[in-house]
Structure formats: structure tokens, C-alpha cells
Amino acid sequence: MTSNTRYKSRALRSEDGREEKEYVGFATLPNQVHRKSVKKGFDFTLMVAGESGLGKSTLVNSLFLTDLHKDRKLLNAEERISQTVEITKHTVDIEEKGVKLKLTIVDTPGFGDAVNNTECWRPITDYIDQQFEQYFRDESGLNRKNIQDNRVHCCLYFIPPFGHGLRPVDIEFMKALQDKVNVVPLISKSDCLTPNEIRKLKDRVREEIDTFGIKVYQFPDCDSDEDEDARQKDRELKESTPFAVIGSNMVVETRGQKVRGRLYPWGIVEVENQSHCDFVKLRTMLIRTHMHDLKDITCDCHYENYRAHCIHTMTSKMNTDNRVESPIPILPLSTPDVETAKLIKMKDEELRRMQEMLQKMQQQMQHEQDL
């Protein structure tokens, strides 16, 4: 809402300010963009992943203040011994102050629940690739009016707080997904950790993410023309990753107010209390400030990587198969040059090697002659 007023006020200032001889009027562009986007509506696809019982559904309900999982069936332990990972989608349309959001939550029940979890992320990566492929086909098609964007914009990964840090399954999952989707790790159910323990766990997780070279979502740096307050907030945000969150479906009464929270015999945990957990920071980041950035990185980075990779494999396959017709109507012309450039490089390498060998042999002969 602050951005809304900001755009309007800028436009107004230039309108009833002093008459400028060079007044053109394109300072209202942000305002026009705002209007059009409100009319079009937004969409966002969020994926949640993690073992059962870490509070994923509760957190999603708390984030979007709805109840998405009214009647779901939880499996018993014996049913989960050899369970495979499923992908379920829920789509809701929510509206706030005239802005419409089509929110899709992709859930991954069964992840990490079976006794043998080797490659349990494969259904998830396959799903993400499928969405990319579908978008790729739509984008390359003839009728591009109503493309449905089902690409996953963000994946919240829930780390259990009961251990000392990341576990092998966490690391393998994040590494498998780091190039396909924006991974945001979260410490779930953090009401079992004292503030000291939270700090230690966060440091540990950040250290392990560094050590193992996992590429999680990085917050973009603040613009240099932002004020100190925003920059301070930005710094705090970056330093408190991964966020330690608590979710709740219940409303409790504390200090005369009704808040979302969890009731314990020793106190009440408030979900939206900044000193209790980082839920507010997560919500701010995910919805209020960085939602569009997440979408941008998905489009510009992950999707483009997928697209380039796809085209590359297709053309190299075609070169080996010598097929004339291509499955996509438009074939970018730059790639054959890339192929020949590679061949030339290879041949150059070979030549250089041969020359070196020749030189060596000549030297040897010279040496023998001298003897």
C-alpha cells in the first residue's frame, strides 16, 4: 500500500507543481502500470516441501489467512513405509483492496516419509520441469493469447528443528532443486527452540549451506536511493535467514487481543509477534516485498536456463540424427555457430598437441645426434 500512494503522489506533484516548459507527462507511467496490473490480476505458485508433521499446511493457512486443507487424510505409519511422493495442487483466488491474486499451492505429501528415501525428490523435479516444458511449448506456439503460467515461483523447504543442522536428505533435496526454483529454507516449529538455540541453529544451517555450495534464494540488494530505514530492514532480513517460523490455525486471546497463536500451559506463543518467531519477516518477504522478484528470477533465470538447455539438447540430437523437421516451429540460428565453434576449438587443441609432440621428437633426435 505504500507503493500505491508513492506512485500517485509523484504523479500529482508534477501535475500541480509549477508549469514546466518541458512537461511531457510520462511520470504517470508507474501509475498506468499499476492500473493495468490491478486489472489483469496476479498469479503466484508456491511449493511447500518437507517431512510430514513439520507444520507446512498450518503455515500456509497462517500466511494466507485461509484454510486450504479442510479434509485431508493423513496416512498411518505403516502405510508410509514405502510411500512415494505425490504432488497435489490447490488453487484459490483471493482479493485484497481490489488486487486479485490467483494463488496456487503445490504440496508434496510423502516427501521424506518412506524408510528408503533415495531420490525422493525426483517426482518434484519432474513436476517443475513439466511446468517449464509446458510453458516453453505454449510460448513457442502460434496462439499465445492465454498462456497459463504454472511455473513454480518459490519453494519453501521446511527444516526440522529437532536436529543439530541440515541432514543428508535436506542437502540432497536443495541441491537437486537449486537450479530449477527459488529455494527458501525455513526452520519449522521453532517454538521448541529457545532464542539462543535458534541463533545457533541458524548459524549452523547458514554455514552448512555455504560448505555444501547450495544456491538458495538471495534477497536482492536494496536500491541505493532507498532511505536508511529500508536499508536497515533489508540488512536485518538478510541476517535472519533462514527464517524460524511457527504456524497456527487457532485464534487465542492474549493481553486483551485476539491473535493467531498456540496455547501452552506455560504461556502463549503469538505467531505475529516478532520476538517470538520470524513469521512476520517471512510474510513480508514472500508477499509484501519480494513476490515479484521471485517471479522475475523464475522467469529470467531458471526458466531461461531450462529453455537454453532444452534447445541445446534438441539441436545436438538433431545434428546426430540428421533430421530436417524440428518439433518447435522457430529454431534459433545462433546454435549451429556454437557447434562449429566448438569443433574448431577441438581441432585447434589437437593441432597444438601434435605440434608439441613433434617438437619433443625433434628435440630427442637432436639429443641423440649430439651423443
Partner: protein, 425 residues
């Protein structure tokens, strides 16, 4: 069975005493003896890394066992055992705490239970070996069999994990399992009740037999029955102390409140301590010996082939079985030896035949070569003879020619001489 049953079985009858004899001090004598000897107790803690096993042990026994943090990246499940000597008033306790390391961290957890089962079996095996020895010292023996197994359940709030079910099924016939819900300060009261019910129903429906507190002793039957209804205990462990009210208590401090470990309305820690240590420790030891160990022993001996009754259903003593086994074994050994010997002889014969063949082959080649050699030599001899003949004929011819030449020369000289001579005359 009670003493009157024993008496009836032996054909004895009940007498009443007319005065105080004094054998009512027998339990006291037993107690004195065992206090002098000291007690021993072995606990196994199974749970995921970081779930709070070491902290709970520290809290239960009010000491610091100095356990270092384990990493999540162990390739296999291992067990780490540590023994401590504790003393409370005049009672000495040798406590062994066995912790699992790396449980639940691997990607493939199908074999995670195996190291635990192997460890338990090993302890039973060493005890069995000691029992079967001829010269044994059971009263001095340090019993390393596990008397209780605390299984730490992760507080997901929904149900047991698949790994939990698998492991407990494998262990329920080998050790007394006491499931506990770890880190219970993350579950609210209403959720806790549902969670406990779900866990118990899952255990029952899968036929897992956890340890039930005994109900046959009247003094503790009532409290045990209530406690059986509170299983599994939801515990919180902490070694940090905080000032609450006017005394220092073990607690965990959160921004929203303080969880007191020994407060019954906060968690079931006090119940666990009472049940595990104060009331039922001796019963746990007894159960381990009479139920789990006996089962192991029976299975093991049956495997080897011992039976209590032979095929005609007559009772057979261990000694007889042992003797038959022994003769059987020796017979088997002899047979094997004979077999090996025959095999050896056969192999030697084969090898010999092989070598003979090779020798013959070589001999043939040798003969062949010799013949060739002799032929060539003959040819050479022939050539030499021819050459010599030619040589001798040539030398003869040369001698003849020389003679002729010399004659001619002489003749010429003579003629000259004659001329000369004639000239003079």
C-alpha cells in the same frame, strides 16, 4: 507363584507358627547383600540425531554425562556405550548408557535397525557363553544386557514415523521398550492427547509389545495402572536451572514463558523418572532376564540343535544331547578329512599324468631335432669330402705343372749351357 502354591506342589502342608522364629528378616538380608554388591542398570536410547537423548539422560540422573554432539552425516548407524558409577545415599549403581549415533540420518533407512539388534544379541550371547562355561563366575559377572530401551519419538503431532514402527517391531521381543515423546514443549495439550492416542493405537494395530508396568504387586499396582494409561510419556529435558518463584528449577526459557521440567502440568518427566527409576527398575531387570534373555537362549540353543525332548518325546538332558552332538561332529570331521585326502590323491594323479604327457611330447621333439641335426651333419660331411677331393686333385695338378715348368727351365738352361759349352769347343 505364591508360596502356598509351591507348598501344595511339593506335597507340603501349611503350618502356623507358635512364636517368632525370625526368618522374616530374609528380605533384609537380601537387601543388605545386594546393597553391598551394588546394582547395575543398562539403558539403550534410540532416537534421531539431536532429538535430546543425551540431555534427557543428564536430566534423569542429575549429572553431566559429557556427551559430544554427533553429526548428521554418519554413513551408518552406530552404537556408543558409556559406563558410569553413581551413588545415592548408600546405594551404588553402575549405569551403562548406550546411545545410537546417526539413527534416521541416512537416505536409505531400511537397515537402520540392524546394528541395534546385533548389539542387543551380542550382549545376550556373551551372557550365554558365560552361563555355559564349565568354570563360571556369574555372581561377579558384569551384566551388560540392556534392561530398558527408551525410544524417542519425534514430536510431529500426527503419528509415528515409518522408521519408528519398523524399528520397534524388530525390538519388541528383545528388550523392554518404553516409548517417549521427545521435545514435548512443541506440542500443545490438546494436540498431545490426540498424538498419544494415535501412537498407542498404531502400536497396538501393528502388534508391537511395549513394556507395561507390572500390575501384580499390590503396593505399586495402582500407580502403575495410572501410569500405563499415560504412555507414551511426553518429556522435556534440560540441564539449565532458572529461578522460578523462590527456588531454582530445571527449566527452558522462552520469550513467551518458562517450561519447567519437573512441573507435572508441563510435561511427564516426573512420571518417567518415577516409573523408570524409583518404582520399576528392578522389575525391568527381572523381565530382561526371565523373558527376553530366556527367549534368546531358547532360540539360540534350538538353532544349534539342542532339544528338551528327543523325537520319542522322552526328556533328554543337556549332557546326552551334548554327547550325541559331539560324536556327530567328530564323525563329520573324520569324513571330511577322508574326503579331502582322496581329493588330494586324485589331484596328484592327474597332475602326474599331465606331466608325463608333457615329457613324452618333449622327448619326441628332441628325437626329431636330433635326426634333423644328424642329417644336416651328413650333408655337410659330404660337401667337405667333395671339397677335399677337389683340393687334393688341384694340388696334384699344381705339383705336376710346377714339375713340368721346372723341367722346362732345366732343359732350357741345359741347352744354353750346352750351347755355351759347345761354343767353346
Amino acid at each position: 507363584m505364591s508360596s502356598s502354591d509351591v507348598a501344595r506342589q511339593l506335597g507340603a502342608h501349611h503350618l502356623s507358627l507358635s512364636g517368632h522364629v525370625g526368618f522374616d528378616s530374609l528380605p533384609d538380608q537380601l537387601v543388605n547383600k545386594s546393597t553391598c554388591q551394588g546394582f547395575c542398570f543398562n539403558i539403550l536410547c534410540i532416537g534421531e540425531t539431536g532429538i535430546g537423548k543425551s540431555t534427557l539422560m543428564d536430566t534423569l540422573f542429575n549429572t553431566n554425562f559429557e556427551n559430544c554432539e554427533s553429526s548428521h552425516f554418519e554413513p551408518q548407524v552406530k552404537l556408543r556405550a558409556q559406563t558410569y558409577d553413581l551413588q545415592e545415599s548408600n546405594v551404588k549403581l553402575t549405569l551403562t548408557v548406550v546411545n545410537t549415533v546417526g539413527f534416521g540420518d541416512q537416505m536409505n533407512k531400511q537397515d537402520s535397525y540392524q546394528p541395534v539388534v546385533d548389539y542387543i544379541d551380542r550382549q545376550y550371547e556373551t551372557y550365554l557363553q558365560e552361563e555355559l562355561k564349565i568354570k563360571r563366575s556369574l555372581h561377579n559377572y558384569h551384566d551388560s544386557r540392556l534392561h530398558a530401551c527408551l525410544y524417542f519419538i519425534s514430536p510431529s503431532g500426527h503419528s509415528l514415523k515409518s522408521l519408528d514402527l519398523l524399528t520397534m517391531k524388530k525390538l519388541d521381543s528383545k528388550v523392554n521398550i518404553i516409548p517417549v515423546i521427545a521435545k514435548a514443549d512443541t506440542i500443545s495439550k490438546s494436540e498431545l492427547h490426540k498424538f498419544k492416542l494415535k501412537i498407542m493405537s498404531e502400536l497396538v494395530s501393528n502388534g508391537v509389545q511395549i513394556y507395561q508396568f507390572p500390575l501384580d504387586d499390590e503396593t505399586v499396582a495402582k500407580v502403575n495402572t495410572t501410569m500405563n494409561g499415560h504412555l507414551p510419556f511426553a518429556v522435556v529435558g534440560s540441564t539449565e536451572e532458572m529461578m522460578v518463584g523462590n527456588k531454582m528449577v530445571k527449566a527452558r526459557q522462552y520469550p513467551w514463558g518458562v517450561v519447567q521440567v519437573e512441573n507435572e502440568s508441563h510435561c511427564d518427566f516426573v512420571k518417567l523418572r518415577e516409573m523408570l527409576i524409583c518404582v520399576n527398575m528392578e522389575d525391568l531387570r527381572e523381565q530382561t532376564h526371565t523373558r527376553h534373555y530366556e527367549l534368546y537362549r531358547r532360540c539360540k540353543l534350538e538353532e544349534i540343535g539342542f532339544r528338551d525332548t528327543d523325537p520319542e518325546s522322552k526328556p533328554v538332558s543337556l549332557q546326552q544331547t551334548y554327547e550325541t552332538k559331539r560324536t556327530e561332529f567328530l564323525g563329520e570331521l573324520q569324513r571330511r578329512e577322508e574326503e579331502m585326502r582322496q581329493l588330494f590323491v586324485q589331484r596328484v594323479k592327474e597332475k602326474e599324468a599331465e606331466l608325463k604327457d608333457a615329457e613324452r611330447g618333449l622327448q619326441g621333439r628332441f628325437e626329431q631335432l636330433k635326426q634333423l641335426h644328424a642329417e644336416e651333419r651328413g650333408a655337410l660331411e659330404e660337401k667337405r669330402r667333395v671339397l677335399e677331393e677337389e683340393q687334393s686333385s688341384f694340388s696334384k695338378r699344381r705339383a705336376a705343372a710346377q714339375l713340368l715348368q721346372a723341367k722346362n727351365l732345366n732343359a732350357n738352361g741345359k741347352k744354353d749351357k750346352d750351347r755355351k759349352n759347345s761354343g767353346f769347343m
